[in-house]
Symmetry: C2
Subunit: 304 residues, 2 copies
Amino acid sequence: MTSGRIDWIAVDWGTSHLRLWLMGDGGQVLDRRHSDRGMSKLKPDEFEATLLALVGDRLPAGRRVPVICCGMAGARQGWAEAPYAAVPCLPGTWDRAARPRTSDPRLAVAILPGLSQARPADVMRGEETQIAGYLAANPGFDGVLCLPGTHCKWAHVSAGEVVSFRSFMTGELFALLSTASVLRHSVATTGEDQAAFSAALDQAMARPATVATDLFSLRAESLLQGLDPVTARARLSGLLIGIELAGARPYWLGQEVAIIGAGGLADAYATGLAAQGLSPRRTDAEAMTLAGLAAAHDALKGQL
Amino acid sequence: MTSGRIDWIAVDWGTSHLRLWLMGDGGQVLDRRHSDRGMSKLKPDEFEATLLALVGDRLPAGRRVPVICCGMAGARQGWAEAPYAAVPCLPGTWDRAARPRTSDPRLAVAILPGLSQARPADVMRGEETQIAGYLAANPGFDGVLCLPGTHCKWAHVSAGEVVSFRSFMTGELFALLSTASVLRHSVATTGEDQAAFSAALDQAMARPATVATDLFSLRAESLLQGLDPVTARARLSGLLIGIELAGARPYWLGQEVAIIGAGGLADAYATGLAAQGLSPRRTDAEAMTLAGLAAAHDALKGQL
C-alpha cells in the first residue's frame, strides 16, 4: 500500500468477485483491494456498503471521489442498470454511464455500460472496458481481440469501434465438466501436459462434432487404461478450446489477433492460435481494465 | 402388487437409482420397486441390506432366489466388480457375471458385466443388457441401437454381437447447463417447443463448431429480447442433440436404427433422426431391460 492523495477509484465489479484500485492523481495505483462480494451475492442497496467496507478508511472528508465501475454492477440485478450500447459502436460509451445515488457524500459513482449485439444475440459487461483500454494503449488497432474467461469473447475491432463480437461458454463448460460431471473422477484440479493439450485441440478443430463423445472417452480411458489425471485435464481443455477455435475461425482467420488475458488460460489460447500459424499479441487483462477505467475517468471527470 | 410365488428378481442398479422387479415363474412381473439408493450412495457392504430393505418381505424361507443385476452395481466401486467384456462380443456375457457372497441364505446374486471398447475408449454398464433384450426380441437385427440417457449410447450390432459403440455426454451436458450454468436463468425446467427444437437441431448439425457460442446466445436473447424460457429449453436440447447427431453420423447414416428409450428424450432423438430421413424403430427401455435380465436369468439359472 502506498500513501498519497486518492484521486479516484477504479472498480471491476463482476458476478462473483470485486476488484478495485485506489488511484493517485498521477495515474499511479496507490492500493489494490478485492472481495468475493460479487454482483450475484448482493442486493442493489448493498453495493454502497460493500464498497465503503473496502475503501471507507481511505476516503477523504469534504470531497467527492469519483468511483468508475465496469462489469456486472451495471446489470439489471446489479447496483444500477447501465443499458447496453449496441454494436457497432465505440467500446466506451461513457456518457451513458449509470449514476447511482449514494448516501455517503464522499462517493461519486459511475457504472459503465456493456455492449450488446442483436444478431447473433450477444452481450458483454466488463470486457468492453478492457477493449477500450487496449485501444487507448494501441490507437489505430484494426483486428480481433480475444478475451479468455468464463465466457470468452472474440471482438472484431475496426476504426476504433467494436464491429461485432461473440461469446463462447468454454470456461464455464470446463469448470462444470471438471468439477460437476462424471469427468470429475478422472480430471486433476491442476497441472499441464502441453502435448496432450495440443493433440486434443487439433482433434476438436478437425472434428468438432464429436466433442461430446471425445469428452466421455476421457472417463473411459481413465477406467480402462489408467489415463493420467493431469493428461485428462489437458485434453479436456484442448477439446473445449479446440471446438471454440473451430467456431471462432471467422474471427481469427487472416486477422491480426491480440489476446487480453493472463495466466495459463491465456497461454492455452495463444498456443492454440500459434498452431494455426498466427502470432497473437499478448497483453495483460488487469492493465487493460485499468487503462479502460482511466480513459472513462478522463472522459467523465468534469461531470462527476 | 400381484401375489404369487417369486421365481427370481430382476434389478437395474444404476449410479443414482435402483429399480427392481419381482418376477413370477411364468415370466410375469409380480411387483415393481425402486429406491434412490444408487451405487454412488453405497459402500460395497451396504448393497445387500439395501436390497433386503426393498424385497425382504417377499423372500421365501428355505429357498435361494436368483437376483440378476445389471448396471453400476458391477463397477469397481459397486457391490462386486464384474469386469467389462471387450467388443466385438455378444452383448450378454453372462458366464462372466460377478457373484457377490451374501449373508442372507435366501439370495443368489449375479451381477452382469458391462462392455468396453479400446479405441476410441468407451464403456457401458446396463445398456448392454437392454441391447441383449432387444436382440432376444428381435433376433437377426442388424443395424444401430440408440440408447438416449445421461450418456447416450450408439451401438453397431451385427450377427448378434456389439461391433462398436460410442457414448455422448449429451444428457449430462443438458442437465449441467440447464441447472448449474448461467443459462439456468433463461431456461425453463419443463415444456416443449417443437419448432424451436428442430431449428436448433438443424443449426447445430450444420455448424457443430459454434455450439459453445450458440449456447451463450440463449442467455443473450433472454436478456435482450425476452426469449421465452420454454423456447430456450427446446433450443438448448436441439443444439446438444444436434451436435450429437452430427458426431454420430457414421453410426446412423444409411443404417437401420432403433431407439431404446422412453418419454420426451427418446422422442427428441426420433424427431432429429426423422429430419435426416430415417424412420427409427422405437422400443421401450424398461421392457428391454427386463427382457435382457430374463435372458440372463434363463442362461444362468442352472448355476445359481
